[in-house]
């Protein structure tokens, strides 16, 4: 019987301004699951991820990680060791003057020695096909490269589960395919927010929907596979 990674019971959240972003969310996310999360802009998806990571405190409700109920907000201090969050905007996630330092930041915080941190960072970069990026300035990378380096900063902390916030936004077709290959190759559970149906159909087993702060996990939400006949298969093109 798979272990639940995250259990949310009746989680609600209201922003200080009075905007209710999450409304009594129930969610059990099991080890090994690959779930997509779909929903219009402003439906509370990013807020949900930030609640799970302990970046925001729910107004009401209960949470448990790996079966352990969260009693004290201080328990959150260790969540980052188990769950990695890929931010919607890669620019928020990269703040060091070199790619190597950025990827090593997490391992160093977790108590790795310098040598270990450098080794982990190099291995993670190599795993994502980013050899030779170590000394690059993150600011000068392309959007796709930034996304992969951000992913490296998360994977370098060897999490057991990933939360990915719109990982394909702004990627060209080729980089998107590369991301799909990388995610398929990971032996991790993940929750992915995306508007990209074809992407979700390819890398997730089921899709939940969010609307106006409510989460719908019932079978009602069925993703129609977005199958296309491509008369010009050799020419990459985008669908809008």
């Amino acid at each position: 019987m798979p272990q639940p990674v995250i259990t949310l019971k009746g989680i609600s959240f209201t922003y200080p301004g009075g905007k209710t972003a999450l409304d009594r969310i129930d969610l059990t996310f099991y080890e090994g699951e690959r779930i997509g999360l779909l929903g219009p802009n402003g439906s509370g998806k990013t807020t949900l991820f930030h609640i799970i990571m302990g970046l925001l405190q729910p107004t009401s409700g209960a949470m448990a990680f790996f079966g352990n109920p969260l009693k004290d907000p201080r328990d959150f201090k260790t969540i980052y060791r188990q769950i990695g969050l890929l931010f919607q905007d890669a620019d928020d996630q990269l703040f060091c003057p070199s790619v190597l330092e950025d990827v090593a930041f997490g391992p160093l915080n977790m108590g790795a020695s310098r040598e270990e941190a450098i080794r982990i960072a190099r291995e993670t970069l190599a795993h994502l096909g980013l050899e030779g990026f170590e000394d690059r300035f993150p600011h000068h990378l392309s959007g796709g490269e930034k996304r992969f380096v951000s992913l490296a900063t998360v994977l370098a902390m060897s999490p057991r589960a990933l939360l990915l916030d719109e990982p394909t936004t702004g990627l060209d077709a080729q980089t998107r395919t590369r991301l799909i290959d990388v995610l398929k190759g990971l032996d991790l559970s993940y929750l992915i927010i995306s508007h990209d149906m074809a992407f979700l159909a390819e890398i997730t087993d089921k899709v939940y929907a969010m609307e106006k702060g409510r989460l719908y996990t019932e079978e009602k939400v069925r993703l129609h596979r977005h199958v296309h006949a491509h008369p010009h298969g050799a020419h990459p093109h985008e669908h809008r």
Binding site: H50, G54, L55, F87, D92, C96, P97, F105, N109, I118
Partner: protein, 254 residues
Amino acid sequence: MIAEPFAVGRSPIHRMDPRPRVVLATVFSFLAALSNGIPTLAGGLAFSVILVAAARLDMGLLVRRLLPLWGFLLLLWLVLPLTHKGETLYTIGPLPATREGLLLSARITLKSHAILLAFTAWVATMSFVTLGHALNRLRAPEKIVHLLLLTYRYIFVLEEEYGRLLRAARLRGFQPGTNLHTYRTYAYLIGMLFLRAADRAQRVHRAMQCRGFQGKFYSLYRFRAAPSDWIGGAAMTVAMIGLVYLEWKCRNLS
């Protein structure tokens, strides 16, 4: 993301141990701020210019960093000589310009340049994580380290966001002039700027938390004072002692 254009480089200053750089920059700032003799301040400015040359900073970028200061100083030169009490040197129309006012303007100009240039050469040449680590290692109180680093980070974020907003306004045909529309647009831009900067800084802070940041900075690079650091540090210290001596002379003369 934090743009730290001066932090990347291979100059002798970049390679120097960050700890003495922070200490020297702090001592020098106090020295320059407390000195009053024009020769001392001119010497201090010359010293900081040498530092800038040694750090091989991008001049175009440096000038852009200095522009706001120049705007402020221009205003000072226009106002202070005419408003400060003292011996009249010349008159502009009905207004007398005083020797004391001119001297004060000169002092402020020299001081602000000396401090800003020295700080850019010594401190802006390290990344913000390195600076945090250096301050931790110097046993600065954690709260002060955070305050300093957050301020430092906000400045970069603000600058970047301001550029972005201004570009957006220009793309929509905004031409600054001296009219109400211009002032209103700038007011909106500045309001938006604070909102966005606060949002962004919060998101960056969250990203740091997600990666296990709990208040202490660690650096990939071991701080090691190489022999050349001792020599460089000693030379800089001697130069600063020279400045103290100059200031002492100036005070005795007057």
